[in-house]
């Protein structure tokens, strides 16, 4: 079910076109990755979704209608830069932010205790926010995003400043929310995180949507005829159907000629007595796709 429907939105600031004719849907129970280089229009898009900016043109439907005060309470937002009150205690800060989402005090306190326990911040709850480390503040920001159990969550660089343990915890939280049916949009520069979490991605460059779709399909679409091979015996220098090869860590990357099937190469290797330990059709990483699309060598385009 569609949680947010964006139709042909655009936003300019003076002569600068920040977002140009962007359309997409965000579904319940999915994590949608919003990717793009700096200044691509990601933040402007997010701010329009959150009704901080009004689009110059186009329409945004949230939870079946236009944005209103009541719907704001059903959205959780984690900005890229931490937005917490610095001079008050962590507990008070989170309590206040939750109260602005229409929650009652008792409910806030119960959920807050549970989240503080989970994020190992219980002992820090009376500390002023400014006294907390960046990682702790990021965890607090995550709590502020999740505490009211929103139907839509928009997170901008959710793992910044988090150590691997807390990154995993945050990922688990996002996955739990997805399993609960929450629609999640995640903007990030960390392609590995996007690959690990996102069901679909949107790639924005120069304010325009340049790539969107299911991650597997996109990968297949951008896939080149390459093989990753690891063997316990020497690999022949010349293999029929391979243009050239290149060592890559403890493996070798084989670049196949157009039309050559990987299976044929495997058969040839076994026939020639190579003891194959690992044979994999190489998929492009999201990083590769990102660079390719953004630098203009867009295969899909």
């Amino acid at each position: 079910m569609i949680a947010t429907e964006v139709r042909n939105i655009g936003k300019s600031f003076g002569e600068i076109v920040a977002v140009d004719d962007v359309s997409f849907s965000l579904y319940e129970g999915e994590i949608l990755g919003l990717l793009g280089p700096n200044g691509a229009g990601k933040t402007t898009t997010i701010r329009m979704l959150l009704d901080i900016f009004k689009p110059d043109h186009g329409e945004i439907e949230v939870l079946g209608g236009l944005m209103d005060e009541e719907k704001k309470d059903r959205i959780g937002y984690l900005p890229e830069e931490r937005g917490l009150y610095q001079d008050i205690s962590l507990e008070k800060c989170l309590h206040y932010l939750a109260s602005l989402k229409g929650m009652e005090s008792d409910t806030i306190q119960n959920r807050l205790n549970s989240y503080l326990e989970r994020f190992d911040l219980m002992k820090n709850r009376r500390q002023k926010v400014k006294e907390l480390s960046k990682g702790m503040q990021q965890k607090a920001q995550l709590i502020a995003t999740f505490i009211h159990h929103p139907k839509i969550i928009i997170v901008d660089e959710p793992f910044s400043a988090l150590d691997p343990v807390n990154t995993q915890m945050a990922k688990d939280l996002l996955r739990e929310e997805r399993a609960r049916g929450t629609a999640i949009m995640m903007s990030t520069h960390q392609m590995n995180q996007a690959e690990a979490l996102c069901d679909r991605i949107l790639l924005i460059a120069n304010g325009r949507l340049v790539l969107s779709g299911n991650l597997k399909e996109i990968r297949r679409c951008f896939s080149k005829n390459e093989i990753l091979l690891r063997a316990s015996s020497p690999i022949p220098e010349r293999i029929a159907g391979v243009t050239y090869s290149r060592p890559e860590n403890d493996q070798t990357r084989l670049f196949l000629k157009e039309g050559i099937k990987p299976g044929a190469i495997l058969a040839q290797l076994i026939q020639s007595g190579v003891e194959v330990e690992h044979f994999e059709t190489a998929q492009p990483t999201l990083d590769d796709i990102f660079i390719e699309v953004v630098t203009g060598k867009n295969k899909a385009a």
Binding site: A18, T44, G83, Y85, Q86, Y96
Partner: protein, 406 residues
């Protein structure tokens, strides 16, 4: 509406529950108490409870008259002893039996001169007591009516030319109120404005606003901030006033002062026609400045542009009071930034024409509304302008929308 109240209460509580606020609240009464304590100690140091003597050659002194008590405390009262010769009096001074001898010569009534013999300056309590004793003796010679008037003092009532305004000088409140209103305005707006400025600048720069406006509208946030921070200043003021009332009550109990303040219609006109919009105007301008700049110090410097004119009528207070109808005084009392102080000053001692009140109030409310609209617009435009200054020209020219940092 519920969220607006939550913003307001949050803004209020977070300021009030700080050490800085508590310090500011108690510092003023403590300073007053300290000043009073120093005064009392100083009086105490100038007190000498040894008896004083009188050698009277003028024949006007009657020792049957008991003088009105002038000492602050009973322990400071002094006994007055009569001496039949100047030598015996001087001897008593030498031996330390009395602190001073007051010699009234035969021609005292024509010269008014009194010789005082003492080893050191007599205590202030002794001098005051002697003055009162002499005064009581002198007026004892007059008729009962004269005595009554002299005891009660004179009662001046100042009437305006058209008779619509009058102020009894004994009713101190009539004169004091407009002065106090202007002063209170300046204090409250400086306290609240400072908090408001800090709140807006800090939250804009640490990006809390971006979080908050995903839950509340920018207008709710702005008005919540303005009223929340204004309430902080008012709380501080009310606590000070409570101390003042407490002090005055004590003053009345100790000194049997029984004047009761009397609120007049002109006070209400000043409050709701000038002061109320004045608060809104300055608070809105503080908000405007807060979102336009990037640092608190810069905001404070810019805000001087309208806080300085606000207090300027106090500099010309004497001229305003002396020439309440002068064109410059009239201008100051209708100009938005000076009216909040100048108009109450004028109204304290003269009759301000009704049409001038109407003009001043209209200008004040119009300015307040314009400033609020401008503040709301700049708030929307500037709340996400991290590290960037907003020009007034940009605010005025931009129709709607917000610029991004991207």
């Amino acid at each position: 509406m519920k969220k607006f109240w939550r913003v307001l209460i949050f803004e209020y509580i977070r300021r009030v529950k700080t050490r800085g606020f508590l310090f500011a609240v108690i510092s003023m009464p403590l300073l007053v108490i300290l000043a009073m304590a120093i005064g009392l100690v100083s009086v105490r140091l100038q007190t000498n409870t040894l008896p004083v003597g009188i050698f009277d050659q003028s024949g006007i002194i009657s020792f049957e008259i008991i003088p009105q008590e002038t000492a602050l405390f009973p322990s400071q009262s002094v006994e007055i002893l009569e001496f039949k010769t100047i030598e015996s009096g001087k001897h008593a001074v030498q031996t330390g039996d009395i602190q001073a001898l007051f010699h009234l010569k035969a021609d005292y009534l024509s010269t008014g001169e009194i010789e005082v013999f003492a080893l050191e300056k007599p205590g202030e309590n002794a001098l005051n007591h002697m003055r009162q004793f002499l005064k009581d003796n002198l007026i004892h010679l007059e008729s009962p009516q004269t005595i009554e008037i002299l005891k009660k003092g004179n009662d001046f009532t100042i009437r305006s030319y058209d008779g619509s305004q009058q102020a009894n000088m004994r009713d101190w409140f009539v004169v004091f109120f407009p002065f106090a209103v202007g002063l209170i305005f300046v204090i409250v707006i400086n306290i609240s404005g400072g908090y408001l400025l800090q709140s807006v600048v800090d939250e804009k720069e640490n990006r809390t606003m971006e979080m908050v406006v995903t839950s509340v509208s920018p207008e709710q946030l702005m008005f919540g901030k303005i009223l929340g921070n204004l309430s902080v200043g008012l709380t501080q003021l009310f606590i000070w006033l409570a101390f003042a009332v407490f002090g005055l009550t004590g003053f009345q109990v100790f000194f049997h002062y029984d004047q009761v303040p009397d609120i007049q219609p002109v006070h209400l006109v000043i409050l709701f026609g000038i002061i109320a919009p004045g608060f809104i105007l300055i608070a809105a301008l503080m908000t405007l400045v807060g979102v336009m700049v990037t640092e608190l110090r810069e905001a404070q410097q810019v805000s001087v542009l309208f806080t300085l004119p606000m207090v300027s009528p106090f500099w010309f207070a004497a001229a305003i009071l002396k020439n309440p109808g002068h064109p410059l005084t009239v201008f100051l009392s209708v100009f938005p930034f000076t009216a909040v102080v100048a108009m109450p000053l004028r109204a304290s001692t003269s009759t301000v024409p009704v049409w001038q009140f109407i003009i001043a109030s209209t200008i004040m409310w119009a300015s307040a509304v314009i400033a609020l609209v401008l503040a709301a617009k700049s708030f929307r435009l500037g709340m996400l302008q991290y590290g960037k200054r907003l020009s007034l020209k940009y605010i005025l020219r931009t129709r709607q929308g917000v610029q991004t940092n991207e």
